[in-house]
Point group: D2
Chain length 414, copies 4
Amino acid sequence: MDEVFRRLDDIREDLTALYKDLHAHPELSFQEHRTAAEVARRLEALGLEVTSGVGRTGVVGVLRNGTGPTVLLRADFDALPVLEQTGLDYASTQRATAADGSDVPVMHACGHDMHVTSLLGALDLLIAARSRWSGTVVAVFQPAEEIGAGARAMLDDGFLERFPRPDVCLGQHVFPFQSGFVGMMSGPSMSAADSVKITMFGRGGHGSQPQNAIDPVVMASATVMRLQTVVSREVSGDDTAVVTVGSIRAGTKENIIPDQAELLVNIRSFDERVRERVLAAVRRIVRAEAIASGAEREPEFEQLTRFPLLVNDPDATSRTTGALRAALGDHAVLDLPPAMASEDVGLFGSAAGVPTCYWFFGGTEPGRFQRALAEDRVAQEVPANHSPGFAPEIEPTLTTGVKALTAATLEWLA
Amino acid sequence: MDEVFRRLDDIREDLTALYKDLHAHPELSFQEHRTAAEVARRLEALGLEVTSGVGRTGVVGVLRNGTGPTVLLRADFDALPVLEQTGLDYASTQRATAADGSDVPVMHACGHDMHVTSLLGALDLLIAARSRWSGTVVAVFQPAEEIGAGARAMLDDGFLERFPRPDVCLGQHVFPFQSGFVGMMSGPSMSAADSVKITMFGRGGHGSQPQNAIDPVVMASATVMRLQTVVSREVSGDDTAVVTVGSIRAGTKENIIPDQAELLVNIRSFDERVRERVLAAVRRIVRAEAIASGAEREPEFEQLTRFPLLVNDPDATSRTTGALRAALGDHAVLDLPPAMASEDVGLFGSAAGVPTCYWFFGGTEPGRFQRALAEDRVAQEVPANHSPGFAPEIEPTLTTGVKALTAATLEWLA
Amino acid sequence: MDEVFRRLDDIREDLTALYKDLHAHPELSFQEHRTAAEVARRLEALGLEVTSGVGRTGVVGVLRNGTGPTVLLRADFDALPVLEQTGLDYASTQRATAADGSDVPVMHACGHDMHVTSLLGALDLLIAARSRWSGTVVAVFQPAEEIGAGARAMLDDGFLERFPRPDVCLGQHVFPFQSGFVGMMSGPSMSAADSVKITMFGRGGHGSQPQNAIDPVVMASATVMRLQTVVSREVSGDDTAVVTVGSIRAGTKENIIPDQAELLVNIRSFDERVRERVLAAVRRIVRAEAIASGAEREPEFEQLTRFPLLVNDPDATSRTTGALRAALGDHAVLDLPPAMASEDVGLFGSAAGVPTCYWFFGGTEPGRFQRALAEDRVAQEVPANHSPGFAPEIEPTLTTGVKALTAATLEWLA
Amino acid sequence: MDEVFRRLDDIREDLTALYKDLHAHPELSFQEHRTAAEVARRLEALGLEVTSGVGRTGVVGVLRNGTGPTVLLRADFDALPVLEQTGLDYASTQRATAADGSDVPVMHACGHDMHVTSLLGALDLLIAARSRWSGTVVAVFQPAEEIGAGARAMLDDGFLERFPRPDVCLGQHVFPFQSGFVGMMSGPSMSAADSVKITMFGRGGHGSQPQNAIDPVVMASATVMRLQTVVSREVSGDDTAVVTVGSIRAGTKENIIPDQAELLVNIRSFDERVRERVLAAVRRIVRAEAIASGAEREPEFEQLTRFPLLVNDPDATSRTTGALRAALGDHAVLDLPPAMASEDVGLFGSAAGVPTCYWFFGGTEPGRFQRALAEDRVAQEVPANHSPGFAPEIEPTLTTGVKALTAATLEWLA
């Protein structure tokens, strides 16, 4: 394996430059045109069969190398409406027009640039080592992961019919732990996440005459308080769910009772049964609180995003973990508990009916992480994904990401 | 008195034109430059001593007519950021830049245009009838009543020192009841109103990790629910108070816990002791709910506006009521209960230590009002002040307003 | 009138002894057998036509004195389950079995003993002065006022058919203000009061497994918080209502989730429309909060007591007030605002379709009252009705009560 | 091992009779005099060194058998104030005086009678098989487990100094799963449980005058709602905590605002850090809600019971599990997740600084359990501990309990 990895020394400089370029040019979900073009150009240069525009802006590269299983390797490539504050010399200064028409800053605040670079690096190593394996690699560069829509879009665009059907789906995500390490999760691994916009309707009026109005501020506030009981009373201590009202908005003037209120709610769960119970409880409570206020119109629910539960196949994870231990050293492979974060990568495996193994690789400079750990201040000191200060330390993060993907793929194809 | 009123026939056409012009050209608080100039021009034409720029945009006209008492007559002249939807051919299409920099529509949605026109008409009648009275009339055209700042600004600008000190302060407001009628209130008549902006501070975080955040959505919602107890538990059934949270705002994304929440609160009361208890209770509750959430920073309170309680002097009101009964007929003078609405007119009398008498005059077309009354649908069918459909029926509203002011003034000066 | 009142000097000692005896022997609602017997005995001694057992334990005495109108004079005579703590040498040490079977202390904590004594005294004076008036007096000694059931019981027992139909209904209640004074109220004078027992049903379970239970503690608590909005949001500042949850009870063990919760709610109002809106809002909220909790069974509502709104007829009150001013002196007759207290006396007038005039007479020792007033500590220092320390100062309370009833009656019959 | 177990056939009848006798004669915590006497009598008959009155009513038997390690075997023997509704012919009809002086029914609703019987049986088998092992067995019959006080009382009574110091602590609890099976948990296995009585102080008053009172019903209800946020917002999805308000009590009359409210709160956790955060949050919220109400007196907290977290030592559990698999068959030994139930057995091991292994054994008749499982109605159909219908099916529960304890002990001493 060391021999396979040696090729990395030849391409590291190029990959680093690519990473910095991607980082400086982030693009919002389904707007990843520049990124997709660069990916497609490089896949072609590597000799893969390349298809662009899969699921709007997705790119698929197929690398055939004789008979054998098919491994799907997935990297997502969209960025976020966050104003970068890393201070890096390759920091983003990009802005874009968001889906709601507003002008927003854009930043690779979730490390998808590192995912793309690692996958392109791994493909290069696999090609260089093609004599050591046989089978097919399907490299998936997925758009719009951040809004939970990209995997679904690619599948709806005929992905399973148009490209070789995988036997296993692999992928990885950079995360705020020590760079150089990978973290494996088995079974239910990343939470299902449902985002719902709830509009509750009152009746507007003058602030001095509440008796002629139906106050949506009170209605929404009572609802927020009642929603706390979903987790506190309806979810077993053995199960896990989080219900967050991330936004509440009603009214603009102190002396005008507005006519509606809006809640944005995010729901996390690790079990479909729990998820359904929680969603039903949220709907039940919202409707009942509207009744309690005497609302004349039913609340409206709009599903904003839906991320499925990510289940790592225990056997596939065990096998992949073994390969990563061999490749990176036992010490560098951690067992992690399920993460209260969400991903749509699992849809590929679910749709194909094959196992998924998705892991984390660390992105935090080792010294910084160790200091924060010693002081029990990791949450405070280490910028997390989606924060304005989040950016993986390029090395050894990139090397680890390339090696991990390469080794995992070879495990299935060698 | 009929003789005095006869002059109205000569000027009604001009007053009507003036009213329509003012209605079509509303101006926001402290931006009433065009209105002030027109008022000053007319006051000068009537022969009064005119001072402009009192309290930024206010105008004062003094009419001296021999020895005797001094009567202050007050009309306010600012408009509101409301998009007019009356369908009138003289409806406003004006827009202006609000204090917060935003571009807003402007409308005379509170009838101040009718107040100005009525006062100018009354001054004309009083001049025509100057042989019948002696004393001094101080005509006050006040800016910025809508934000509770104009009377204070004029007083702070030396009003009491620069102009003859009044013996009584009179004024009137158009209201959504039958045109042709006036309504008198005695004692505490219009509520004190305090508007407060409250900012509560949590700690932001990812929606999936509430344990690392201090959720301001929950903090603010709990506060709204608790604030309901101020009126339900801390105000006697014999007293009156209204506490309205007109706006609650926190967060923008469903999966991000924001770091603060903002409440806009409006408090009405009819008694200083009740007012102080309510304000203290609001502060106590807000602070305690921040503590309950474990907030690391105290909530902030910003007083947005403050309207004083309007107390009509019972004797002055009784005397004025008698005059209006004589002038308009007994049937046209109603006794009204205190109004849950606010005014800063009372500051003039309080500052001077003299009685105030302030009354309402109806603005709704009689047939429309009677039909609504018969169907018990006044609240639904008759547009109230501040609503986009509010506009007084010009006649007999204007005639009633002019007559009422004239008759009341003559009562004190004849 | 002084001549009429002179008779009081002859009977004061006897009345005082009667009062102390009644005070020492209080009886619960519908258990007033000893009191009723004593009343009947005295009425017979006075020569009235006496009927006992009207509405279970009520007593009616009819005093005919020629042609003329009929005046109903009403005194209630039941006591309360309160442990007397007055320290008086004639304090009650009685106990009784309450309607729920429990053994309770009994006390005349609402002064009905004074009502009985005053009415018997007034009847004596009226008989002594029978040459000065003609007509009929119907003396009503009513049971079970405290539970709002006695007037209804007497009416249901054929009161209007069995006894001369009144032209006016008069009565009085001792109240914690200065003895020697009476207080008059006109129009809506004493609140309607509805008491409701609400049972909310959850599903019991182990405290560690809320997911298998439906928590009635949370359900009831959310309901209490929501009920605060009835007064704060659904009752106009111009109207008056009080909604008090006087008791909440659920569960007995910390680690057992109980299966139901009980709320005892008291609702006061001064207007039938407000009353109906408030009652409907309470029911709506209770039902909705049960739905919000996912309750499997509808909440149950049981009306415990219902006191009607007492409306004093303005003309009858004006006339009676004049008589009391003449009899007691202008200074001794106060105008009082409506009282947030309840009475069923009004049912007699409502049923007969005739005016009611019901007033208060002070029971607090003058010096004590004046000191408390000076210190603004009346609420703290003067024991109110229903408190363990409440007992009218016998004089001048008794004299005032007798005189007031006598003078008021003569006003209608002289 | 089969040979060791054969002895059970000789004593099963006697043990069954003992079990029925214990079941019919349950005793409350620290009142286990009859039970303790019977236990002591039997231990002496078996030839152990017996000490009674350890920790008030506890009994310790020491069985010495040569050199070797010391194994502590613990059975708890108190019962509960529950009215038995099993319908068994040996059902309890006992009553007793509870700590608060009330007369209550008593029932072995938690199976401690089965624990005692199983331990006595195991001691018999161990004595019969004494040639197969060497070392010391300390048999602990603990009082007052139900109130979390017995283990502490025995330790405070010099347990560690007075008796041979254990090398490992073993014990077992009957649980509502299939009889014949045992269930093992490793690591944090049974929750810490803190029970707190909270008294919140308002100011009483008449229900019609809330402005003169401080309403403890509202205060307590707001607190209950806010307490829901402890679990929903302050406990990570990765952690486990349950906060149950099992009882809320305030007031007795609908129209009297009471002066205090009482909450009984039960808190479960699996991690000391989580426990401390939750307890601190509960105290913070209770205090803040008292402040929000303007309470004049601080809330009071009384710790009712405290059960520690039970941590099964992984190595000891692994070793014991192996022994039980060998003795009962692999199929009969289940791996269970941590239980949201609490025990004070762990205090012995903690105090001695040695490992604990505590397991469950099933008590439900196999057919009944299988049917319930098939219908997914275990929670509904199988009576759980502390319920009036809970009683282990004597066989094979007793046999399994004796075998499991015997086999586990031999594992450590053979």
